[in-house]
């Protein structure tokens, strides 16, 4: 299966270049830890802020690694090979986005509950936070791939990616953080989770296709 090859390849590369993974993770940890220092250690306020802070930090952290998603392959010519593959390019892109999520998204999901403890979140809220990140971070990788493909090889590409991609992240942010808040307020959060799931399905269906067309445009 071609998609397995591409995932295996990107994981191998990530393992051999661990610094990329670690930078994303430490960025996430540092951003989340900075907030109490800037607004004060008042626990009630921190608890109220926690879902938003963790989610915004997750958005930024996953964006940090976006411009490396295709640019290395672009530079050494392997991206050209992928475009000329007899396999569907959308499928290859899906594999790359999945690998990106495994490498940058999963560490965030694992780290989030630990950071949540810093903010004194109740146990149930920690579970919800982890769940929302688990559903939401793949969407970030999938939508981010479009931005990464469009800005390939451009001057100031990494700043441009954030301009293009951050507004598109907003629905995920709203429902991701919203679910945790709803849980802490004692309201049901099922609707939030199903909407996040719907976003995931929609971006699974559309984003690889948009990314594939963007790559063809960018390499022309």
């Amino acid at each position: 299966m071609i998609i397995m090859w591409i995932i295996k390849r990107d994981l191998l590369l990530a393992i051999r270049r661990q610094s990329d993974v670690l930078t994303t993770l430490f960025f996430f940890v540092i951003v989340v830890s900075l907030f109490p220092l800037s607004v004060g250690p008042e626990m009630n306020m921190l608890r109220a802020m926690a879902p938003g802070v963790v989610w915004v930090a997750a958005l930024l952290a996953s964006m940090l690694s976006l411009n490396r998603m295709f640019s290395n392959d672009y530079m050494d010519g392997t991206l050209e090979q992928m475009l000329l593959s007899p396999q569907s390019l959308s499928l290859l892109v899906l594999g790359k986005a999945f690998a990106h999520w495994l490498v940058t998204g999963i560490p965030l999901v694992i780290m989030a509950p630990i950071l949540g403890i810093q903010y004194d979140l109740p146990a149930e809220a920690l579970v919800v936070l982890t769940l929302t990140l688990l559903l939401g971070t793949p969407v970030l990788s999938l939508i981010g791939a479009i931005g990464a493909a469009l800005t390939l090889g451009l001057r100031g590409g990494s700043v441009l990616i954030s301009l293009l991609v951050l507004p598109l992240y907003i629905p995920v942010l709203i429902f991701g953080a919203g679910a945790v808040e709803a849980n802490m307020a004692g309201i049901g959060f099922d609707a939030h989770l199903s909407l996040l799931g719907a976003f995931l399905l929609a971006s699974l269906a559309l984003a690889p296709w948009a990314t594939a067309s963007s790559l063809r445009v960018s390499l022309e």
Binding site: L163, P167, V217
Partner: protein
């Protein structure tokens, strides 16, 4: 008389057609603007709740509507350009973006100025204003992406993809913001629902909407003409125009 519409899809013949159309739309814009302002300021009565402050509606609502329409129209032309590889439609998309962004900015600015006397603060995270803000980001993203790409063909196609992605997302974003807004604060005075709008108020607003349409068409045609000359400078027909000194 039959008009060969297909003929006008080429930049060369469209260029001269647009030149003839601009004065018509500009004239219509000025006339309807004057009429709309007259109705807005001299015919429409004072609102019993909001006093005179509501008169901002005559630019706020048209600007907000235009900003959203123009994004959809822009994405439409960009998509046509991407699908059928027609240069002119892509140029249209590029020409629409700055005007759309300007209307978005006006909607935000006037919304804020209206909010101050109504809510007591310059900025409220009201669903409509928040969506406008995000729309402004989308316009800026589209324009910066196109500006960063040197090759016009790649710029057209890349812009089209991000515009289409944006247009798919706008309803989702709007819906999310609405949801978020109702969760976090109770119903406040919403800008766009004056409970009992006098018919003259509505009339003034509609005339202003018409004026904005006419203005947008005129200014976009004007910008398209400039873009055509910039892009097609190497082609024979532009050289022909130069020779006859009829670039105007």
């Amino acid at each position: 008389m039959t008009i060969n519409w297909f003929k006008y899809s080429s930049p060369a013949s469209f260029y001269s057609l647009a030149g003839k159309m601009i004065p018509i739309f500009a004239f219509a814009a000025v006339i309807s603007l004057v009429a709309g302002l007259y109705v807005g300021f001299f015919v429409a009565p004072t609102d019993f709740q909001q006093g005179e402050a509501y008169r901002i509606i005559f630019i706020h609502v048209p600007a907000a509507w235009m900003s959203m329409f123009l994004y959809v129209v822009m994405a439409f032309w960009a998509g046509i350009g991407l699908a059928f590889n027609t240069r002119l439609s892509s140029m249209f998309a590029t020409a629409i973006a700055p005007t759309g962004a300007m209307f978005t900015f006006i909607a935000l600015w006037t919304g804020s100025l209206w909010g101050k006397p109504m809510w007591g603060t310059w900025w409220v995270w009201d669903a409509r204003l928040t969506s406008e803000l995000i729309l402004l980001f989308l316009y800026i993203g589209f324009m910066s992406l196109q500006a960063a790409i040197d090759d016009p063909r790649r710029a057209d196609k890349a812009g089209a993809i991000i515009a289409l992605v944006g247009v798919v997302n706008i309803p989702i974003i709007y819906f999310s913001v609405q949801w978020w807004n109702t969760l976090h604060q109770g119903a406040s005075v919403s800008i766009n629902q004056a409970p009992s709008m006098a018919s003259t108020m509505l009339l003034g607003m509609l005339i202003m909407v018409f004026a904005s349409w006419m203005y947008s068409i005129a200014i976009i045609l004007k910008r398209v003409r400039v873009i055509i000359i910039e892009r097609e400078s190497h082609t024979a027909w532009v050289a022909e125009l130069q020779k006859k000194d009829s670039i105007r």
